[in-house]
């Protein structure tokens, strides 16, 4: 059994690769819910949906989120009422949010609904939110103060300096049911190449999950989302630097040092391998840029075989 932590971008790509290497029922994905939001009364879980849509082969390739072949009838009609609308949701994507919201109102947990959605898309692996309790990623931005994550990420295009990130509710949020046991029983735990601060950070902000992973450090493999000093997508590089980390594979090794016994880095960073190992983290060098499915499967094979 393998457990993988994933945000919305690099993480799901790696999991797609893992599906080519392991039987799907042997994989559990822990998804980030720190950027969940309620908008128009709908409970939206962007990262969980990105995992499901990508693994179902339905992710919108142009946007990198939402569904392929999407239409925008509802959002276009909404313009009659509201000119400014920076958070656009496609019609088919909205159906997911309508379903989730109705099920939660009916008393289902987010874990249950996420499982239902994954199965409805034909997935055989387990997709689990980090918690059924709300945890909200809050980003302190120069000039605007503390904002909900989507305000920073979508409205401000994550292009503004950040002075702090906080996970509201993490102190009382419990790991999703069964998650701690799953981590304890896993043969391997993978921290995907997602943003360490705002994609993996919220998952690790739940003490029960962090402790369970730290207890398995020898079997935990992280994949660096930083390649050649920058992130392939999103604000990981800026956030690491602005919050006092080194924006390099060494910074990532240090960030995960108490959790991951092994860090997989890209060949372009091979010269930094000694500095990674100096952090007490075994370093594996390979191709980590998952430009196609074969490369994702190759990386997945390395991740499954790597040993601390």
């Amino acid at each position: 059994m393998l457990v993988a932590l994933a945000g919305g971008f690099g993480g799901p790509r790696l999991i797609a690769g893992l599906l080519d290497v392991l039987p799907p029922p042997e994989i559990t994905v822990i998804g980030n819910t720190g950027d969940d939001l309620v908008r128009h009364g709908l409970h939206i879980s962007p990262d969980l949906d990105s995992v499901v849509y990508r693994l179902a082969g339905a992710l919108n390739p142009e946007l990198g989120w939402g569904l392929a072949g999407e239409t925008w009838r509802v959002m276009d009609a909404l313009e009659r009422y509201r000119g400014e609308n920076w958070f656009r949701l496609g019609d088919a994507d909205l159906a997911t949010h309508l379903y989730r919201t109705q099920r939660l109102a009916d008393g289902a947990t987010l874990s249950e609904v996420t499982g239902e959605i994954a199965r409805a898309w034909g997935l055989e692996l387990r997709v689990v939110p980090m918690s059924d309790d709300p945890v909200g990623t809050k980003v302190t931005v120069d000039g605007e103060g503390e904002l909900p994550f989507q305000d920073y990420f979508v409205r401000l295009h994550h292009s503004v300096p950040v002075s702090a990130v906080r996970f509201d509710g993490a102190d009382i949020a419990r790991p999703a049911p069964g998650l701690v046991d799953t981590i304890a029983a896993a043969s391997r735990i993978v921290i995907g190449p997602s943003n360490p601060i705002v994609s993996i950070g919220p998952i690790l902000s739940i003490a029960g999950i962090r402790t369970a992973i730290a207890a398995r450090r020898r079997d935990v493999v992280a994949v660096s989302p930083i390649v050649g000093g920058s992130a392939l997508k999103g604000p990981a590089e800026h956030l690491l630097r602005e919050l006092g980390h080194e924006a390099s594979v060494v910074g990532v090794a240090r960030y995960y040092a108490d959790l991951a016994g092994c860090l997989v880095i890209d060949e372009v960073d091979a010269d930094l391998a000694p500095r990674v190992e100096a952090e007490g983290v075994r370093c594996v060098v390979t191709k980590t840029v998952m430009a196609d499915r074969d490369l994702a499967a190759s990386l997945a094979r390395v991740v499954v075989e790597a040993r601390a």
Copy 2:
């Protein structure tokens, strides 16, 4: 100034006729919110929307509700998750519910949002919900017990015998702000040809509105939704009979006798005019079936000129 009470079907047709007879800013429509519901987390106000859509010339002519030229992308996508779905909402219609739900979450009242929606559709008359407080029409159905209105109306196609109708919350609901003053100041109050029990009934279930209308009885004109002993659309005939009323213009006259000084009935019921007047209600006989816009305007002219 004219005030009109309207449900979702006949009432809005008459108001469309009134718009051809009076300057729109002189008209206030009181809409029924007894069949409002929350579904998928969205606040849906079917009757208010039917009023706005019809007056904007945007009502779906085949369905008699929702928007013309509608698409069903979201509902079609929802079928992936949920096979059975008896309450279908079109894509453009959903935008109205998304907007309303967001504004209510922002702290706006239903009156404010309804005004915004009406203006967004270019309407110059005032459309006001009966109350900003929740009132839920509950229908007791043989074998199923008490159901929310839409369960009875949409899921069961209003085809089952009803033993009771109740307006949950009406005892504490306040009339929408300004409504009692508007009724007191109106030169004419019109009870449209909507279902007396479940369209007009919820409006009258709010004591402040009922009292304000009763105080103006001489200036209140009702239009019978029963023509030749049956309703043109919907379950008015059955409901009247099942709840102990006569399903005729005489039954309607009796139902509104303490509120309306005048009842407009159709020519096919001319022979019943003496029985209507025997209830202490002045009876006006004219064509009431609004098959086209000219007939609606003619009926509107009769309604505006009728005197108790």
